[in-house]
């Protein structure tokens, strides 16, 4: 076994050496973005737009969750960590220990709509009701003015930034109940909700279509105005984190500040999120 590993390690080391030597020969630049599936649509749109404008730059986008994005940034395996939540203290400390200084760039705002099946007659819930549903205290739609159906609550996994935001903004310290299902992405939440009449879930604004129904919360529905002025209660910014502020004028700098341009703005709106600036 030892021998085998030694061989593999040797082989890998040789390959690494080649990689280092071949590095400067490679034309163009590779920018690796990793992290949130919620920020994914924006990151993908930005990457393609930027690559079209700057041939020779290769931008790759991975969607593995905010937590993994943060880890990749501190392991220096990505240049941009897409995150749908802010970095945690522990992540900041861990990053600082490895010599990475995370800098946050807010790219867009998100309303975090609460989704139900369109056949559900419920139109509005209060934050307290949503909390109690996810805690498992409210178990039937009848209790909140809906049909007589046992509620199926669907949540994102704990690696997700959307989960953290939901936990903070809705649960407020209460624990999500045992009967809640956990799924790995925004798209999976939508698929679960669109196929389950009794389901309730939450996802980024870009993932809402006419197969699911977004509820209004405390009587306010998520829109550009209500998210921006903070009246929609479950809103949050979306981030791209870089290691230090990127060198001005570099590809990385232009990529993460694309959200401030008119084109970036229009892309954010088209994907369904809310731009931070207005044109």
């Amino acid at each position: 076994m030892k021998k085998m590993f030694k061989k593999i390690a040797n082989c890998a080391a040789a390959a690494a050496l080649t990689a280092v030597m071949a590095g400067p020969v490679c034309a163009g630049e590779t920018i690796v973005m990793d992290g949130s599936t919620t920020v994914g649509p924006i990151a993908k749109a930005f990457a393609e737009f930027y690559m079209r404008q700057n041939p020779g730059v290769n931008i790759t986008v991975g969607e593995s969750g905010s937590g993994n994005g943060a880890k990749s940034l501190m392991n220096k395996t990505c240049q941009v960590a897409n995150m749908s939540r802010f970095m945690k203290d522990t992540e900041f400390k861990a990053a600082a220990d490895t010599g990475v200084m995370p800098v946050a760039h807010v790219v867009a705002l998100d309303g975090l709509p609460i989704l139900v099946h369109p056949s559900n007659a419920v139109k509005n819930l209060t934050v307290a009701q949503v909390r109690e549903i996810f805690m498992g205290k409210i178990t039937n739609w009848k209790q909140v003015g809906g049909p007589d159906l046992a509620i199926v609550s669907v949540s994102r996994d704990t690696n997700s930034g959307t989960y953290e935001c939901f936990n903070e903004l809705v649960m407020g310290g209460e624990k999500i109940g045992e009967r809640t299902e956990y799924v790995g992405s925004n798209g999976a939440i939508r698929q679960r909700v669109q196929s389950t009449p009794a389901a309730i879930g939450y996802a980024g604004l870009a993932f809402v279509d006419d197969t699911v129904k977004a509820l209004s919360i405390n009587g306010i529905s998520a829109s550009e105005a209500t998210v921006r002025n903070g009246t929609y209660p479950i809103a949050r910014p979306l981030f791209m984190f870089t290691d230090g502020y990127p060198k001005l004028g570099s590809h990385l700098h232009r990529l993460v500040t694309l959200c401030l341009t008119e084109e970036g703005n229009s892309m954010i709106k088209e994907t369904g999120f809310i731009a931070t600036t207005d044109y």
């Binding site: 076994m1 085998m4 061989k7 593999i8 082989c11 890998a12 080391a13 390959a15 690494a16 080649t18 990689a19 071949a22 590095g23 020969v25 490679c26 590779t30 690796v32 990793d34 599936t37 994914g40 649509p41 993908k44 749109a45 393609e48 690559m51 290769n58 931008i59 790759t60 986008v61 991975g62 969607e63 593995s64 392991n75 395996t77 990505c78 240049q79 369109p118 056949s119 559900n120 007659a121 003015g145 809906g146 049909p147 159906l149 790995g184 925004n186 798209g187 999976a188 698929q191 009449p197 870009a206 993932f207 279509d209 006419d210 197969t211 129904k213 229009s266 892309m267 088209e270 994907t271």
Partner: protein, 501 residues
């Protein structure tokens, strides 16, 4: 009994393969609309300019009646508002002074070419400024007129906006629309099946009826034409129902470029070349690492190692390794290749290949071992008897004789390497990226078929729009693995034939 089991297996195979092939092929062969050809021409330079121009002209001519009806309807709506605007004009002229100037300035925006929305904002502004006057009682008549007209037109405009939205989903941007950045808003539906879906959404409005609070809502389908009874738009719906073919010009197309072009706007348009190439690189890379190490290890175990306890332990370790779930290899690859010895700065094809190589190594070793052990002992004795050294015997007698068996192991593991998702999630795969050059594989991550199939089906923001891409990828992956296997099997057959002389 044997026949029965074969029958069951064949049935299962057909059950699995049939949807893959039939739905997967629909990514390659489908009825493509003129929008598809326009995408191909503008984005990829495929097709002749004249042909596209001619077709665009035809299609535009077929669509024009609908656009004209919209314009006529908007004109009607504007005419209704115009009356209020005229009243304000008259009022302004009668008032004179500052109020006249302020009103006229606002009204200037409500010119003949302005949109209905523009008219509505102007009237809102005017009403606000009239209501702000200290002697607003004098303007009550005008204010009431504005309010009443505005209300009626706003209801109509809302219906019109919905209808235009549905039309845009079907045909692409309408004349006068601002062209935005994302490509998906530049074109209409490229596939005829999607066209029919959106035609239905254009012709009918789907709403949920919650009238019975005890039960779940019911999906209600109302013809959209009901919203526009008696207006200029009424014939538009019958027109779209009957003339969609002329508006979209569907033609059965073999879209082989699906394999060879890259994707645009997160797989909304274009093909899957970067994914195919990525899978290819990863598989080849894994084989490059796994075959030499695996075969050498097998030679060592069979020919050199003495049958001690350590060696038998080693053997059982290798067997155990073959049963380790692939996600464990993925995490190991992330922890070891990327975070500990950093073979590359980020995820990369190199790191992914090394991880995949580790995963398939046990299979390669075991298969090679079996093949080497199956070589008759007499071969070895003959070679040794002729005075060949041990290494020479292995190289010239045993390995060639064992080659077919070794190749079998390689074939099996190659298919596995191409199809595995878990090991490459953390080490190599991304959802969007360019096709790489061989040199770039050393430090760049790549999209790869297995991962992108998973990504498209769970994480993509518009899964239902691009199901065909997903099925196309599945089909391509299956075909790719099959092709690799066939090549290897053919190679193997050739070698065994040669050996038999």
């Amino acid at each position: 009994m044997g026949f029965f089991s074969i029958l069951v297996m064949a049935a299962a195979l057909i059950l699995i393969l049939y949807p893959i092939i039939s739905r997967g092929l629909s990514a390659y062969i489908f009825r493509a609309t003129s929008e598809h050809r326009r995408v191909q021409f503008t984005e990829f330079g495929i097709g002749s300019a004249q042909e596209i121009e001619r077709e665009t002209a035809e299609v535009t001519a077929a669509r024009q009646p609908v656009f004209d009806m919209i314009v006529a309807h908007e004109k009607d709506l504007k005419a209704e508002l115009q009356e209020a605007v005229d009243q304000v004009h008259a009022l302004a002229a009668a008032e004179g002074g500052f109020l006249q100037r302020s009103l006229e300035r606002r009204l200037k925006r409500a010119h003949a070419d302005a949109s209905v929305e523009e008219y509505l904002t102007v009237l809102t502004d005017v009403r606000k400024s009239l209501e702000g006057q200290f002697d607003r009682e004098r303007f009550t008549d005008v204010i009431t007129l504005i309010t009443e007209r505005k209300q009626r037109v706003e209801v109509e405009t809302k219906k019109l906006t919905e209808m235009k939205h549905a039309l845009r989903d079907l045909l692409g941007p309408l004349p006068g629309d601002r062209i935005t950045e994302l490509l998906r808003s530049h074109y209409g539906q490229t596939r005829w099946d999607r066209c029919l879906h959106y035609q239905d959404k254009f012709l009918y409005r789907y709403e949920w009826d919650y009238s019975n609070p005890e039960l779940s809502g019911l999906k209600m389908r109302t013809p959209r034409v009901e919203d526009f009874r008696g207006t200029d738009l009424e014939p538009a719906f019958a027109y779209v129902r009957d003339n969609l073919e002329a508006m979209m010009q569907p033609r059965l197309t073999l879209y082989w470029q699906f394999l060879t072009t890259d994707s645009r706007d997160a797989h909304f348009f274009g093909g899957i070349w970067p994914e195919v190439l990525g899978t290819f690189y990863l598989t080849i890379g894994a084989m490059l690492f796994a075959i030499p190490i695996g075969v050498i290890a097998a030679i060592y175990l069979c020919e050199y190692a003495r049958p001690t306890k350590t060696v038998s332990l080693l053997r059982s370790c290798i067997s155990t390794l073959a049963g380790v779930p692939s996600i464990v290899f993925g995490l190991f690859g992330l922890a070891f290749f990327l975070n500990t010895i950093s073979v590359s700065e980020s995820k990369s094809v190199l790191a992914g290949s090394l991880t995949l190589a580790l995963m398939i190594l046990p299979t390669v070793i075991r298969a090679s071992e079996e093949a080497i052990l199956a070589v008759p002992f007499t071969y070895k004795e003959a070679a040794l008897g002729l005075g060949a050294g041990r290494w020479r015997t292995v190289l010239t007698v045993i390995l060639p004789a064992a080659l077919p068996g070794i190749l079998t192991g390689i074939v099996i593991s190659m298919g596995r390497a191409a199809g595995e998702t878990a090991p490459i999630i953390f080490t190599a795969a991304v959802s969007v990226g360019l096709a790489l050059s061989p040199l770039q594989t050393l430090n760049s991550p790549t999209p790869a078929l297995p991962w992108n199939i998973y990504n498209l089906c769970t994480e993509h923001e518009a899964v239902d729009e691009i199901r065909h891409v997903q099925f196309g990828m599945v089909f391509t992956l299956v075909a790719l693995v099959l092709m690799l296997n066939i090549i290897a099997i053919a190679l193997r057959a050739r070698i065994s034939r040669k050996l038999r002389g």
